[in-house]
């Protein structure tokens, strides 16, 4: 249980650090990195609560949810970067 609690705390801290950075920075890339760190924090919480000791098999459902979340996060990052690149071009013209 102590392991789950420790890693949950780490995940929540990552979420809050990312949120702070998201609110404090204006550049797109900074905000995207911040969102990805926030996402990693939430994923860490999910995986931590799936952990059931060194002997017990972990709960596979949160693992599957996190896999889904990772793919969703990379999709969103890629779309945001493409829009950002397009905006740069529009601003240069």
């Amino acid at each position: 249980m102590i392991t789950a609690l420790l890693y949950t705390a780490a995940g929540l801290l990552l979420f809050c650090l990312g949120l702070w950075s998201f609110l404090m920075h204006r550049p797109l890339l900074r905000k995207l990195i911040a969102l990805n760190v926030m996402g990693s924090g939430v994923f860490l919480v999910f995986v931590a609560l799936a952990y059931r000791g060194p002997e017990g098999a972990p709960d596979p459902v949160p693992h599957a949810l996190v896999l889904t979340g990772i793919v969703v996060a990379v999709s969103a990052t890629a779309l945001a970067l493409a829009l950002g690149r397009r905006l740069e071009e529009a601003e240069r013209d």
Binding site: M1, A4, L5, T8, A9, L12, L13, F15, C16, L19, W20, L23, M24, V45, L49, A50, R52, G56, A57, P58, D59, P60, V61, H63, A64, L65, L67, T68, I70, V71, V72, V74, S75, A76, A78, L79, L81, A82, L83, R85, R86, E89
Partner: protein, 227 residues
């Protein structure tokens, strides 16, 4: 409120939120059910057609989530294609690097095949395998192949939709013969899942590589896509 005061306010608010969050999450963990869905998933695993519990969740128990997730990936790449043509890419690699690429790319493709096959029983599966294919694409583009090894326009479009298409084809066919949407009949789950996973691997690889290229595929008459 001045900028500095606002920053201080946000910082304090987030620090307080962190404390509250940690408190309630430890409450939930300490008083929560402990077991959650693990025993249910373990009990249903033999009937799922695969041996890896995570693959069982992704492609059987919660397959509908995975279907929507592939649709998310598709939406992202469609949005990227709509944002105009890609950058020119990188200059062709020098001899040493080109030699490296020549064995790295086949290796990544082999790794993809292995991960796809092993995913039924051990860690691995369509997403990891697809990511390996995409990595091969990234390496190719970095080495100076602008299209990252992807086929021309029309075939690229077919590849990108293959994952969702396989899911829908299997799901709707099962519904038509009376099993319910994405309800695999007993004994057939294994090969149906492998079919979907193979299509999904190709689609994920192509989609992520296309997302890295970052622009519309070069097809159709010139000038049809916005510059």
């Amino acid at each position: 409120m001045t900028g500095a005061a606002l920053r201080a306010f946000v910082t304090i608010a987030i620090a307080l939120a962190a404390g509250v969050l940690w408190w309630v999450f430890s409450l939930a963990l300490l008083e929560g059910p402990g077991e959650r869905l693990a025993p249910l998933a373990a009990e249903a695993l033999p009937r799922s057609g695969v041996g890896n519990p995570v693959t069982a969740v992704l492609l059987n128990f919660r397959a509908y989530d995975t279907l929507l997730e592939l649709a998310v990936l598709l939406a992202a790449v469609l949005g990227i294609w709509a944002s105009g043509p890609p950058d020119r890419g990188f200059a062709p690699a020098e001899i040493v690097l080109a030699g490296l690429v020549d064995w790295l790319v086949p290796l990544l493709i082999l790794a993809a095949g292995y991960l796809l096959w092993v995913g039924g029983q051990a860690p691995g599966g369509a997403f990891q395998a697809g990511a390996m294919l995409a990595a091969a694409g990234v390496v190719l583009r970095l080495a100076g192949t602008p299209r990252a090894g992807l086929p021309r326009g029309d075939w690229q479009r077919v590849l990108v939709v293959a994952g969702v298409a396989a899911f829908l084809a299997v799901g709707l066919a099962l519904m038509a013969i009376g099993h319910g949407f994405l309800t695999y009949p007993p004994g057939h789950a294994k090969w149906l899942i492998l079919t979907i996973e193979t299509a999904a691997t190709l689609a994920i690889g192509a989609t992520l590589a296309a997302a890295y290229v970052g622009g519309s595929p070069p097809d159709g008459p010139p000038g049809e896509d916005r510059a």
